[in-house]
């Protein structure tokens, strides 16, 4: 099994940390992982994206042009990555701020209203975990136990009390993801 994922959105949406948690979760179940961010000035407020690869075998290129899954969190990223999804692949997006929804019919498209859900829950920071939950519902490539361990690994100890809140957000994402 190899899953090649691009997560793309604005800086500050927790794109990189979502990728990191996913990667750590993969390590927890003994998979090979690679996490490769776009880096540079765009880290500060512009677009941010990260490639995450989980695999049972040695990972080749950490830099890809085609992905099994694209998780898209703003319109610029939609423009850039919709066509990068392999045929038969999956695209997950938050409709908030999307002016031109994805139009491909050879891939599975899912929606998660993460911005709205996070606002309703009164915890905008849980946004990325809601998205992660939505993804894991559709593609359960890592089990929730390992996500919890991954969270513990990627969060500094002083934030460990936030793990239950994050798990809740992941479950909320799992419950609210819809196929479009």
């Amino acid at each position: 099994m190899t899953e090649e994922i691009i997560i793309a959105g604005f800086g500050g949406q927790g794109v990189l940390s979502m990728g990191k948690i996913l990667a750590y979760s993969g390590i927890m179940q003994d998979q090979e992982v690679a996490w490769m961010p776009s880096y540079g000035p765009e880290m500060r407020g512009g677009t941010a994206n990260v490639t995450v690869i989980l695999s049972d075998a040695r990972i080749s290129s950490p830099v890809l042009t085609r992905y099994d899954t694209a998780i898209i969190l703003n319109q610029q990223s939609m423009d850039k990555f919709e066509n990068a999804v392999k045929p038969g692949g999956m695209l997950l997006y938050d409709p908030n701020g999307i002016t031109r929804p994805p139009a491909r019919d050879d891939i599975a498209i899912y929606k998660i209203e993460a911005t709205r859900l996070a606002a309703e829950a009164g915890n905008p920071k849980s946004f990325n975990m809601i998205v992660l939950g939505a993804f894991l519902k559709v593609k359960p490539i890592v089990i929730l136990d390992n996500v919890e361990k991954g969270l513990a690994k990627s969060l500094p100890a002083r934030h460990h009390h936030l793990i239950p809140v994050n798990i809740e957000a992941i479950q909320s994402g799992m419950n609210h993801v819809e196929k479009s």
Binding site: K20, A23, I27, E32, V33, A34, W35, M36, P37, Y39, G40, P41, I59, S60, S61, P62, V63, L64, T65, R66
Partner: protein, 355 residues
Amino acid sequence: MKGNEVIAEAAIRCGCDGYFGYPITPQSEIMETLMAREPWKETGMVVLQAESEIAAINMVYGAAACGKKAMTSSSSPGLSLKQEGLTYLAGAELPCLVVDVARGGPGLGTIQPAQSDYFQATRGGGHGDYHLLVLAPASVQEMNDFVALGFELAFKYRNPVMILADGVIGQMMEKVRLDDRVPRWSDEDIERISGEWALTGKKNERARHVVTSLELDSYKQEEFNHKLQAKYRRMETEDVRHEELSCDDADYIFVAYGSSARVCQKSVQLCREQGIKAGLFRPITLYPYPRLPLQALARRVKGFLAVEMSAGQMVDDVRLAVNATAPVEHFGRYGGVIPTPDEIVEALKKQIIKA
């Protein structure tokens, strides 16, 4: 862990005595990680932010002259500044470790990954007839492994060793198995390992040690250069490293190092899916270059494509090794652009297969 963070962790674990650096993207995490880890409390390792890359490499020079395990890290523009120090280190036969997390150039260039420092790294970089031993990691695991290996080789040859990485390897995270901790060398260890030359304070029973690259007599300087060349020949026989992937039955070979090699691994897969028998030859030491194994392959394959994030630097070494036995072409993206697995496959078809 990120490649850069792993360098820092590996340095602490392998008993490094001193790190001297100056911030530059995309490798600042190395010093940041060290400063956050405070290894001076744990092992006594010194970590110092210098006022410039020039000062940093000269601090390394001072520390190395004492027989200590000293290192620095930087990215391309910073490496240009360090070249003076490197030629002095090579000329004084001092061991040290230098990490270059390369970015796009020339000039200030971009902060994105590139491999356009190949000439600078493998040809010497500064003035005079000298070489660094250059290791090119292609994974975060190798960022770990090459720190201890780098110091080992540096002291084996009394020569600076460079880890030539790039922004991809520095910034990416992968699973990594860290080495066990090794204590820093004691004064007795240094006496045993480098007692012939290290600055430890002149004792009555021995002559003073002088670390210098100056020689006023040109014949003696020539003799010294012979000695250096003999050392480089020895590196070529004892410490050339490379890796071959799917080369056994291959008709076509990608030659690539570092992150380009990772991208090419994918290209090999894509080729094989399309029925093209491609393989990957990955030099691990860029100096000394794995010339002989490449030559051996040249006798039985239909062509080589050197893939680099540069306008064509390593391809020169491929051509020298292949020596016109088989076609050699170059494909590169540069200035901070990373080639994609697909365009590499296309380049192979267009430039080598030509069918």
